[in-house]
Symmetry: C2
Subunit: 210 residues, 2 copies
DNA sequence: TGAGATAAGTATCTTTTGATACACACTATT
DNA sequence: AATAGTGTGTATCAAAAGATACTTATCTCA
């Protein structure tokens, strides 16, 4: 786990010493293995998870299809959990650990209390809502207006922009899930892109050209 | 405008007397006519509008298409404005008055200040984010997974559920805009629904059966 | 090494959605 | 009544997306 200092070096959002003390007092720490399901649709939560290390994937499922809502990385918390915990609503999404993850867990009732006491906590919460809302709005606009081949292109270029490498380690099936469509559709589009020399396809990864 | 008492009878969210006094001290009141455009994409805002009476429609536009994000009714504020004002971001949506509307306008810097001072204000802000997020998530799920004819049906039944009457006063073009598609598609679907005896079509309105 | 799992390629067919164009009806206004 | 604007019906065509089915390649691990 490391020392307290290490923890708040990672969780930079919480700058106030009093808040840090409170977090240490009330938090529990949880380790999740890759593939562990942390939240399910319909579930009520009475705690708030904040990721210290690792990555969670939050997605919705409809019968056979699923679609990515967002990822939760270090220093972030999960919107669905936040709503669920703050408002005593059930979650409308699933959360799964993509990597071995370390998670800080806080009792739900503290969320509202700290909101009034600690400006940095308050900002953290609002920031979470705002950035997730923006992400979702973006995704919504894409789904509503853009044909899939454009969304595929954007997904790939976005990935490359964030990760630096132009090799995207993702299977067609997984990409289909991210975009809410089926594997065959993705394979078809990627093949067309390859013919246009936009990508090169390999087993397990896609190389974006230029 | 009416008296102060009237105002806070409408804005029930703000129960604290101190908060009410602050609102009265800093607020300006704005009247919008039907069709007035209040927010445009790309615009920065330094104020937060809260609707007292009337209805605003917030939507996104892509070239020729547009799509509804949400409506803002009495006692509600506009997410896009909130983000824009709080975080000094530009708006990514448009807002237009659907009816003659009365709007309370607050300077942006007060949002964060009051967040720490007044629990009811804090709750108002969080509530706004949460409910808009849920709405959007819902819309997102629909667009991603459901064929248009289902979304049309849901739009109509939702309307009837909320308004009581089973006569929905909306043109095909407008409905197309709400759902992010084109008029011809809507006309076609409605005609099929009429043949299945699910609706009856009239000029300017749709009657939902059962 | 060989069996099973995962990944990818592809052909065929259907459905959904969109684009375009034109006709006609109703409404409001002059 | 003439006109313009809006609302609706509908036919035709094209494109996008999805469903299904079968094949081939690659990986993993017992």
């Amino acid at each position: 786990m490391g020392t307290t200092d290490d923890l708040f070096k990672k969780l930079k959002s919480f700058s106030e010493p009093e808040l840090q003390a409170e977090i240490l007092k009330h938090a529990k720490f949880l380790k999740a293995n890759k593939g562990d399901i942390l939240i399910k649709e319909g579930q009520y939560l009475n705690f708030l998870p904040i990721v210290i290390d690792g990555l969670l994937r939050v997605y919705q499922q409809n019968e056979d299809r699923e679609i990515l809502l967002y990822y939760v990385g270090p220093e972030q918390t999960c919107m669905m959990s936040l709503s669920s915990a703050y408002f005593d609503y059930y979650s409308t999404a699933n959360g799964i650990a993509m990597e071995p993850s370390e998670i800080l867990v806080l009792p739900a009732h503290l969320i509202a209390e700290w909101q009034l006491k600690y400006p940095s906590w308050n900002k953290f919460i609002i920031n979470t809502y705002k950035s997730r809302y923006d992400e979702l709005l973006n995704a919504f606009g894409s789904v509503a207006f853009k044909p899939i081949h454009v969304r595929v292109k954007e997904y790939l270029t976005e990935y490359v922009k964030n990760e630096g490498s132009n090799k995207i380690p993702i299977s067609h099936q997984t990409l289909a899930n991210e975009l809410g469509t089926t594997r065959v559709v993705i394979s078809r589009i990627l093949k067309q892109m390859e013919q246009k020399k936009l990508v090169k396809l390999y087993r397990g990864y896609i190389q974006l050209k230029i």
